[in-house]
Amino acid sequence: MKIIVMGGGCANCKRLLQMVNHTVEKLGIDAEVSYVTDFAEIAKSGVMRTPALFIDGKLLSAGPVPPLSEIEEMIAKANK
C-alpha cells in the first residue's frame, strides 16, 4: 500500500504524518508512507487544503486532521 501525506510542513501536517505512521505500525501493515512538502508536487495533485492524505492514489482527507480512529479505519479498509 502506498500512503502519501501532503502539506507545507506545518504542525497539522506533521501531526497527521505521525498518526499515519503510528497506525501503520500498530496494524502491522506493509505500507510505504511518504511525506510530500514540495509545493510544485502538491500543486500537481490539485489539492487545495492541507494536510492531505492519499492512500493508493485516492484522496481520503484534506484540510482538518481527522481523529486517529478515522485514520485507522481508512487504512484498515484500504488494506483489505
Binding site: 509545493f39 502538491i42 500543486a43 489539492v47 482527507s61 486532521v65
Partner: protein
C-alpha cells in the same frame, strides 16, 4: 424600548465584556490575597487572569459558532463562486469569502495555486488571501468585547477595503505574469477533489468542536505570551514612556506600530491583549489597530512562504500595498477617533 436597551447593555457588559469575571478576579487578589490595589503586581495579576480566562471562554464559543458557519464554505466552493464574477465585484466577493472560508495558514499556498490554476485573476486571489487573516467573526467579537462595537465594525470595513483595494491594484498593475512558473496551469492539471458531501448537523457539530480543540491547542502559548506582555505593560511600564513612543503627540506613532508589527508572527488572539494594554495606557486606537493588522496580515514566515509561489516583484508589491494601507488606516482612525467612542 428602554427595556431592550437595558437587556442589550447587560448582555454586552456581562456576556461580552464579562465584568463579573473582572469583579471576581479583583476581589480574589485584593481581598482574599490582600494585595494592595495600587501596586504594580495587582495590576499585572488582575489583568493577566481576567484576560486569559475571558479570552479562552470567548474564543471557544466563537470558534464553535464560526466553524459552524464556515463548514458550509470550502475553498473549492468559494473558488466556484468567485469565478462567476469579474472586475471590482470579483474582488469584493473574494474579500468577503476570505473572511468565511476556513483554512490554516499553511494552506494559503495550496489555495493560491488552486485558485490561480483554475484561472482566477491574481488580484482576486489576493483580495481573498488578504482579508482572510485580517477579518474573521471571532476577532470582530473580541474587538467589540475589548473596545466597543463601533470600533469592531470599523475594523471589519477597513480590513475589507484594504483587501479589495490591494487586490484591485495588483490586478491593475498586471501582476499575473509574476507568479512562479510551476503555478501556471501546464496541461497536466489534476483536479483532485473531495467528493462534495453535505454535512449533517451532527457532523457539523463534531467538526466545529474539533476546530475549537485544535485552535485552542494551537494558540494558547501565543495567548499566554500576548496576555503576559499586555499585563507587563499594564502593571509595570510607566504611562509616559509609552506615550512618548506611541502616543498621539508623536507623529510617527503609527509608523512605529506598523514597523514593529510586520515581522511579528502571532495570532490575532495573542495580539488583542497587547492592544488592550496599550489603549489603557493612552495609545491612540489607530496606532493600536495598525499594530494589530500588521501582526496578523504580514509576517516574516508568511512572506517567506509566499516567496515560493510568486516572483519578487509581485511579493514586494503585495507587501508595499498592505503596509501603506495599514498606515493610512492608522492615521485615519487616530484622526476620527472621537466619532468611534
Amino acid at each position: 424600548m428602554q427595556i431592550i436597551k437595558d437587556i442589550f447593555a447587560w448582555m454586552n457588559d456581562q456576556l461580552l465584556k464579562m465584568l463579573w469575571l473582572d469583579d471576581i478576579v479583583k476581589w480574589l487578589f485584593g481581598r482574599v490575597f490582600g494585595i494592595s490595589e495600587t501596586s504594580a503586581a495587582y495590576s499585572f495579576l488582575t489583568f493577566f487572569f481576567y484576560d486569559v480566562i475571558k479570552i479562552l471562554i470567548l474564543l471557544s464559543v466563537l470558534i464553535f459558532i464560526s466553524s459552524w458557519i464556515q463548514s458550509r464554505f470550502t475553498p473549492e466552493r468559494s473558488r466556484a463562486i468567485m469565478s462567476k464574477f469579474k472586475g471590482l465585484p470579483a474582488n469584493i466577493i473574494g474579500a468577503l469569502l476570505g473572511t468565511v472560508t476556513p483554512f490554516c495558514s499553511c494552506s494559503s499556498i495550496p489555495i493560491f495555486i488552486g485558485f490561480t490554476r483554475a484561472g482566477l485573476p491574481v488580484g482576486v486571489t489576493f483580495s481573498f488571501l488578504i482579508s482572510s487573516p485580517l477579518v474573521d467573526l471571532a476577532s470582530v467579537v473580541l474587538l467589540a468585547s475589548i473596545f466597543n462595537w463601533k470600533i469592531a465594525i470599523a475594523y471589519v470595513l477597513v480590513g475589507l477595503i484594504i483587501a479589495v483595494i490591494g487586490g484591485t491594484l495588483i490586478g491593475l498593475f498586471k501582476m499575473d505574469k509574476y507568479v512562479a512558473d510551476f503555478v501556471k496551469a501546464d496541461g497536466e492539471v489534476a483536479m483532485e477533489e473531495m467528493p462534495e458531501t453535505v454535512m449533517t448537523k451532527k457532523e457539523r457539530a463534531k467538526y466545529s468542536w474539533q476546530q475549537v480543540t485544535d485552535i485552542v491547542k494551537k494558540v494558547w502559548p501565543y495567548l499566554l505570551i500576548g496576555v503576559g506582555i499586555g499585563a507587563l505593560i499594564h502593571g509595570f511600564i510607566p504611562q509616559n514612556w509609552i506615550e512618548a513612543v506611541l502616543g498621539d503627540n508623536n507623529p510617527f506613532s503609527v509608523l512605529i506600530g506598523t514597523a514593529v508589527g510586520i515581522p511579528m508572527y502571532a495570532d490575532i488572539f495573542g495580539t488583542l491583549p497587547i492592544a488592550e494594554a496599550l489603549v489603557l495606557k493612552g495609545v491612540g486606537i489607530g496606532t493600536v489597530l495598525s499594530f494589530m493588522m500588521a501582526v496578523t496580515a504580514l509576517s516574516l514566515p508568511s512572506i517567506i512562504m509566499l516567496r515560493r509561489v510568486v516572483k519578487p516583484k509581485l511579493l514586494w508589491t503585495f507587501v508595499g500595498i498592505i503596509t501603506v494601507g495599514i498606515i493610512a488606516m492608522g492615521y485615519l482612525f487616530n484622526a476620527f477617533y472621537i466619532y468611534l467612542v
